[in-house]
């Protein structure tokens, strides 16, 4: 089954086109990546999937439901990890999960059970009674991911989940995400870290200026674009095997975009 289907999806606001008529399909139980530089339209795109940002035109269905008409039902099945941590600083760590569970109408006892499981899973058990501000960046990020799982979502949307984390924290998050994928959760990931994309994604698209440039598995993209451009890449990075980063830079250019 396809979890997300986008057809000629367009997003404009204030006269600016953030997403230009893109088409893509996300399959059940895969990890699908949106790769692109800042301002490529990744966040605008995922915000449409979780209903924060209305679709300007085109069609977007999630779990077979139209985001324009059934957004509440869709959101029931989603977990969202936004780019910016938006934990509730007025609440303690465990309370953050319990209150968030209440927004899904989850019964208090079940919520507590799940919250304790999640804190354990993300190595935050000892922090349950602490205030959010006392957590490190990595812990906050893990708590945001834990919070997104409180409703046992079928689709987890991760908008730059590891931006700003140190390598240790990043690897811990990756490891947890792999476990989730094994448990059958479909993942959507936006990132500008090539390593993250090649580590986690089954398929990905590279975006630039609101458009999807290419689509494929990480291996296929590297293979395709290496053949064609081997001269250039070998010249720049002598004796190093080409990576997704080379493909990315070739397609999106080397100039700063913002």
């Amino acid at each position: 089954m396809d979890i997300v289907i986008a057809e000629s999806l367009l997003k404009q606001y204030n006269g600016f086109t953030a997403v230009r008529e893109v088409n893509f399909t996300i399959r059940d139980r895969e990890c699908f990546g949106f790769l692109g530089p800042n301002g490529a339209g990744k966040t605008s795109l995922v915000k449409m999937i979780y209903g924060f940002s209305p679709v300007t035109s085109g069609k977007l269905t999630v779990f077979g439901m139209d985001v324009k008409t059934n957004i509440r039902d869709i959101k029931r099945l989603l977990g969202v990890v936004p780019q910016e941590n938006n934990l509730d600083p007025d609440l303690k760590v465990l309370q953050n999960l319990l209150v968030y569970a209440s927004y899904f109408g989850i019964d208090a006892r079940l919520a507590r059970e799940r919250a304790e499981e999640l804190l354990e899973f993300f190595g935050l058990k000892e922090k349950a009674g602490e205030i959010v501000e006392s957590l490190s960046g990595g812990m906050k990020r893990r708590l945001v991911i834990a919070r997104a799982l409180i409703n046992k979502p079928g689709l987890l949307i991760l908008d730059e989940p590891t931006t700003g984390l140190d390598p240790q924290a990043r690897h811990m998050v990756w490891q947890r995400l792999r476990l989730l994928k094994e448990q059958g959760v479909t993942l959507i990931l936006t990132t500008h870290y090539m390593e993250e994309a090649s580590q986690l994604c089954d398929r990905l698209v590279i975006m630039n200026l609101g458009e999807i440039l290419v689509e494929g598995t990480p291996q296929k993209l590297v293979a395709d674009y290496i053949d064609e451009t081997s001269g250039q890449i070998v010249q720049e990075k002598k004796e190093q095997p080409a990576t997704l980063e080379d493909v990315f830079l070739k397609l999106t250019g080397r100039k700063l975009q913002d």
Partner: protein
């Protein structure tokens, strides 16, 4: 036409109560501090103006100045608590804490969030009016059992001020702008709504202008009930407030949606 339609299409679910519950949990964490600060200020007014200045003031409308002033302070302190909550409080949750963003990623809608903000504003008015009432009751300034109905009136008054404050927040979403809200809107209302003196002494034009002050109607009702002077005119004051709530209610939803959802 499309704007009008959007104005009235409010998408509210029972999850509003969960949003409100979140605010109550946060409130319960430091309610003692909140409440004690809140009745400190009206107590200062009561002492300085009611007792201090009151010693030099003739009885007003047949009651000593302290008795005249106390009911006005019940009303004004209550709506000030709401006004603070629905400007600074709402703005901080929306802009700095991104609490709204977190909520609307769940089945909660933006309208649920705003309705939760309004309910919290109402809660503050009702609660703080009760706190000040308890104080003036202890001082022997409550004269009538009608006082027991004041929380119901504060429900309407609180809703009105929550709506007005969120309208301002939606129009000028900027932390500095709230200073203007308090100096240009709330303080004039506080001074010229009959809290401190009856407006009958002022010119007819001023009296007409004051009719549009929501606080004026709330003060009338509160004073009438606490002093036991209940008449048909209080019903008109109440109707005025209810009508204002009903007319303005869709506006904060529209403005906040426009602000948040792009």
């Amino acid at each position: 036409m499309e704007t009008l339609k959007r104005l009235f299409r409010i998408n509210i679910s029972p999850l509003v109560w969960k949003v409100f519950r979140r605010h109550l949990i946060v409130f319960s964490r430091n309610w003692k501090v909140n409440i004690s600060f809140n009745f400190f200020e009206p107590l200062l007014y009561l002492t300085a103006l009611g007792i201090g200045l009151g010693a030099y003031v003739h009885p007003i409308e047949g009651v000593p100045y302290l008795n005249y002033l106390a009911p006005g302070l019940v009303a004004s302190s209550a709506v000030f608590a709401t006004a603070y909550e629905c400007t600074y409080g709402t703005f901080i949750r929306m802009e700095f804490q991104k609490t709204f963003h977190a909520m609307v990623a769940t089945p909660v809608s933006m309208d649920d969030v705003i309705a939760g903000e309004i309910l919290y504003g109402v809660f503050k008015s009702v609660l703080y009016s009760l706190v000040i009432l308890a104080v003036i009751f202890a001082l022997g300034l409550v004269k009538s059992p009608w006082t027991l109905l004041i929380p119901c009136v504060m429900f309407v008054g609180g809703a009105l001020f929550a709506i007005l404050s969120i309208i301002w927040t939606g129009l000028v979403p900027n932390i500095e702008s709230f200073n203007y809200y308090f100096s240009l809107v709330m303080t004039p209302l506080f001074l010229f709504s009959g809290v401190f003196f009856p407006l009958t002494g002022m010119s007819i034009i001023v009296q007409k202008i004051v009719w549009i002050s929501p606080l004026y109607h709330l003060v009338n009702i509160t004073r009438g009930m606490i002093l036991g002077r209940v008449g048909i005119s209080l019903v008109w004051d109440l109707i005025w407030m209810i009508v204002a709530v009903l007319i303005l209610l869709p506006v904060p939803f529209y403005l906040m949606r426009r602000l948040m959802i792009r």
